[in-house]
Each structure stands twice: as structure tokens, then as C-alpha cells.
């Protein structure tokens, strides 16, 4: 069979087009699943009080290698506790010594699967420590930006990395080699007050842990955001890892969750809507009012607050606020992408991780009583 040059060229063009399309997103080709097989109507939460430590009480719990770590974001300490809440040791702290953090705040942090830890300061400065909190490396994140201020101002191109920054209140997750984190644009001409943001913004960043190079910003908001400016008040992503290669992606306004690979080729969407959620969102088209409106919306409306995948039990948790009046948040539990529980939990409850046989929540600090407590629970 004879194949002409034109035929080869045609096939290459089609192939390139398909490849480009799949890298932008393939939301429209996904079939959805809202499978539900409820196994648990309630979960019993045990309160666990951590041993008293000198802390700013601004921080949170992370779990690594069967220990609880309280990350003090102001003092930059890392307190290690055993699964019963007994104090073991204190590491790091603000300062300029080798194993201290020369930063004002820890803005974000993550433990790597190998037990190393990564801390982000206030100025895109990254610090990496081994399992004993000896410093391995530090560097500034390299966004590869050579654009001038004028170029950036006049060219609000959603494909360019310089458009984006960390979503500091979001979460970041790490393999042993890569860091994934939500990003958002605050550009004056491209931000969540502008309708085109829904379709065009990138939502995630990928960084090489070895050198701080941001490989790419990628992924798109789900179709829910494309034509409804009001949903853009919650126009950002939440991310976790199901495997080294599979990302779990969720959005505060979208009942569905998505599985994507590192190029954001989506393979599945699933999820069930939370209960009693007030989703009549209101956004503004004035950037000066965005902050105020966002605060109001978070206090009055229902939205998904976090996702956490626990690989040890292959269980996925998703939390949600219901509305401004509810005394509880909701917690959904998925196994094999099927909803197996949707229960009430304290407001602002999140799942931090798993140390057999318990799942552990985030921390709840009371600086007046100088107590840090968390919850633990089993699924049974």
C-alpha cells in the first residue's frame, strides 16, 4: 500500500490536534458516577488532647511515618507527638541556625512519602529537611519568569506561569520528587472576577523538589465554572494524590471529583452532592470587593472544604460547609469512588491522615485554655 506525504501530514496534524485537546482538558468526554452504598450513618469521634507545648496556637496537624506533627506556622516549630498525643520532640523554629527556618511564617508544608519534609516561607522560599529535621536543601522557587513588569501588565496570558501564584490557604501534596499545589491568578485583567477566568485559568502547579523548578501550571476548572461567574468566588482547586501518577482534584463548588494524570488527562469523575448546602453563590465583578464578598460567601454558603485520600485504606474523605446556620459540617467517605458515608462533624473538621487503627482530624486550638485537641475515629 502506498502512503502519500500528504496522508502522513494529515495524520500527524490530526494526531497533534487530539493530543493538544487532551492536554487542555477532556471534561466533556467523561461519564459521571454518583454511586452510593451507605455503610455508616454516624462516626464516633474521640477527642485527643495533645500534651502542652509552648506554641503560637496557629498551626495544624500533619501525619508522617505513624507520628503526629503539629506545625506551628508562626513560631515555625514542628512538634512531634505519638499517636496518643504524647510529646516526643520539638524541631526547627524561627532563626538563622542551620536547622532553623529564617522565615516569618510557614505558609505551607508537606511531608514526602520518604519522611522528608518541605516548608514554604512567605517569599517563595523553600526549605527541605530529612526525617530528623536536618536541613537538606533550600532554594527559591523558580517560575522561569523573564517577563518585565510592563510585559506582564500588558499581556495577561493564562498560559504563562507569571500569571499565577500559590493559593496560600490551599493544600499541597508531594511525591518524593514532585510537589503539586493549587494556583490562582491575581492579575488585574485575569482573576476570578472576570468571566473568562472560568474557562481559561490553570489551577495546579508542579514543581521539581530537587531544584525548585516549576515544570508547569496546568489543569482547568471544571465545566461548572465555565459559564457561571457566581461560582468563581470559589474558583480554585483542591488536590491530593491517589498514586504517584494519579491526582485527585476537587473544587469547592462542584459536587464531582476528578481523577487526572500529570498532564491533566481526566479518567473519571464521581461524587455525590453534600447535604443542606446553600449553593446560591454570589460573585462580584469588582476586584476591590472580591475579598469582602469571598469572606461573606464562605460564612454563609455551602462549599467543599478539603479532600484527603488515605492510601493505607484506599479511602477518600471530602468535607463541606453546609450553610451559615448549621452547627455542623458534613464529611463524605468514599471507597472505590462509591459514597459509603455522609455524616455530621464539627465545623471546620478535616481529616489529616491515618495511623492504624484511627483516622485523625486537623487540630482545634484554644489559646485561652492553651489546649490543642484533635479528633480520631475508626470506620466500623
Amino acid at each position: 500500500m502506498k502512503i502519500s506525504i500528504n496522508q502522513i501530514f494529515f495524520v500527524l496534524c490530526i494526531g497533534t490536534l487530539i493530543s493538544c485537546k487532551s492536554k487542555s482538558n477532556n471534561y466533556s468526554t467523561l461519564s459521571s458516577s454518583a454511586a452510593s452504598a451507605i455503610q455508616y450513618k454516624t462516626i464516633n469521634l474521640d477527642t485527643l488532647k495533645l500534651d502542652s507545648v509552648h506554641t503560637s496556637f496557629v498551626g495544624d496537624i500533619q501525619i508522617s511515618k505513624n507520628n503526629l506533627y503539629y506545625i506551628d506556622r508562626k513560631f515555625c516549630y514542628v512538634f512531634k507527638f505519638n499517636p496518643q498525643g504524647k510529646y516526643i520532640n520539638r524541631y526547627l523554629g524561627q532563626g538563622n541556625a542551620k536547622n532553623e527556618l529564617p522565615i516569618k511564617n510557614i505558609t505551607m508544608s508537606a511531608f514526602l512519602p520518604n519522611g522528608n519534609s518541605l516548608f514554604l516561607g512567605t517569599n517563595w522560599d523553600v526549605f527541605i529537611f530529612d526525617t530528623n529535621f536536618n536541613k537538606l536543601d533550600d532554594y527559591d522557587i523558580n517560575w522561569h519568569s523573564r517577563a518585565s513588569k510592563e510585559q506582564m501588565a500588558s499581556n495577561p496570558d493564562p498560559e504563562k506561569m507569571y500569571m499565577y501564584s500559590f493559593l496560600y490557604f490551599g493544600n499541597m501534596v508531594a511525591t518524593n520528587t514532585k510537589l503539586y499545589f493549587p494556583v490562582a491568578s491575581q492579575h488585574a485583567k485575569f482573576n476570578p472576577t472576570i468571566a473568562s477566568y472560568g474557562k481559561e485559568t490553570r489551577i495546579l502547579g508542579e514543581m521539581e523538589i530537587a531544584n525548585g523548578y516549576v515544570d508547569k501550571v496546568f489543569g482547568r476548572l471544571s465545566p461548572l465554572y465555565h459559564n457561571n461567574l457566581n461560582t468563581l468566588v470559589f474558583g480554585y482547586a483542591m488536590v491530593d494524590l491517589r498514586t504517584d501518577k494519579d491526582l485527585l482534584v476537587a473544587f469547592p463548588a462542584d459536587p464531582f471529583m476528578y481523577i487526572a494524570d500529570g498532564d491533566f488527562v481526566l479518567s473519571k469523575k464521581f461524587g455525590s452532592e453534600g447535604r443542606e448546602m446553600n449553593t446560591k453563590y454570589v460573585n462580584v465583578n469588582d476586584t476591590r470587593m472580591f475579598h469582602q464578598n469571598y469572606k461573606q460567601e464562605t460564612s454563609k454558603k455551602g462549599y467543599y472544604t478539603f479532600i484527603k485520600y488515605v492510601p493505607e485504606t484506599q479511602t477518600l474523605f471530602r468535607g463541606y460547609h453546609k450553610n451559615g446556620q448549621s452547627a455542623t459540617d458534613g464529611l463524605q467517605v468514599y471507597m472505590d469512588d462509591v459514597l459509603i458515608a455522609d455524616v455530621d462533624v464539627p465545623v471546620n473538621f478535616r481529616v489529616s491522615g491515618f495511623i492504624a487503627p484511627y483516622y485523625y482530624s486537623n487540630s482545634f486550638s484554644n489559646e485561652d485554655t492553651e489546649e490543642i485537641k484533635l479528633y480520631r475515629f475508626m470506620l466500623k
Binding site: 509552648h54 532563626g95 513588569k149 482573576n191 476586584t287
Partner: protein
């Protein structure tokens, strides 16, 4: 780095960041137990309730050197550029008192505000958090 200063501020989405302030170099004496003292803040939180925008809120925090060595406050690090501070005395003798005054400008603030400042001193605890709470109308 240049683009950081270009981006507009949607402060609700992004935490209140302050440019590249590093902690000051700590004197070796801060690590030497022989030079350490004890510090007690009489208050660490000031609540203002509802306040208007474009206001300066002034919060005063009193402290006592309850140890036996001179107290040296090496730094006061507010959360953001909206807050400035004044320290009554950098060195406080044993059993003497002093104060930290924080002034918060509510100019760019709206809604509930919680801002921290971290105080570093030559004590065993080393760091202390001072808090301003307000609800900007």
C-alpha cells in the same frame, strides 16, 4: 520576583504576605542557658470589636522580666505591613516591666481580622505571639 509586586492584591484568597523580612541574626547568647531569663506577658490578645475602615488601632501588651538575667527582645515581627510596632525598651532589667505597642491600619481590611506578631527574646520559650482581633465594617 518582579511579578510579585505587580500582582493585584485579592487578600482574601491569599494570605497577608510581607516582603522578604528575614529573622534577625540571633546572638549566640540567645542559645546559651546562662544568659536566658523568663518573660511573662500580662496580656497577649487585644480585641477591638467592630471598627471602621481607615482607622489605626493601637494595642498595648505589657510584659515583665520574671527571670534573673536582663531580658533582650531581639525582634518583633508583625504578620503584615499593615502593622507597625514600638518597643518600650529593648533591654529590660530583672523584675522590670516593658511594653510592646502594635498599631494596625485597617485601611485595606474588611470583615474579621486576626493578626499576629511574633516577639523573640532571650528566654527558654524564645517566642511569643501577640494577637489583634477586630471586625472591620
Amino acid at each position: 520576583m518582579r511579578r510579585k509586586y505587580y500582582l493585584i492584591v485579592l487578600t482574601g484568597l491569599f494570605s497577608c504576605q510581607q516582603p522578604a523580612t528575614k529573622t534577625p541574626k540571633q546572638d549566640a547568647a540567645f542559645k546559651d542557658p546562662a544568659y536566658l531569663t523568663e518573660l511573662k506577658f500580662l496580656n497577649t490578645k487585644v480585641e477591638f470589636g467592630r471598627v471602621p475602615r481607615d482607622t489605626n488601632l493601637t494595642a498595648r501588651y505589657l510584659f515583665v522580666n520574671t527571670g534573673k538575667k536582663p531580658l533582650i527582645i531581639s525582634s518583633v515581627l508583625p504578620d503584615c505591613m499593615c502593622t507597625s510596632y514600638k518597643l518600650s525598651n529593648k533591654i529590660t532589667k530583672p523584675y522590670d516591666t516593658g511594653s510592646v505597642v502594635l498599631t494596625l491600619s485597617t485601611k485595606e481590611k474588611v470583615g474579621p481580622v486576626q493578626l499576629y506578631s511574633t516577639v523573640m527574646a532571650n528566654t527558654t520559650s524564645k517566642m511569643y505571639a501577640l494577637k489583634i482581633v477586630a471586625n472591620v465594617k
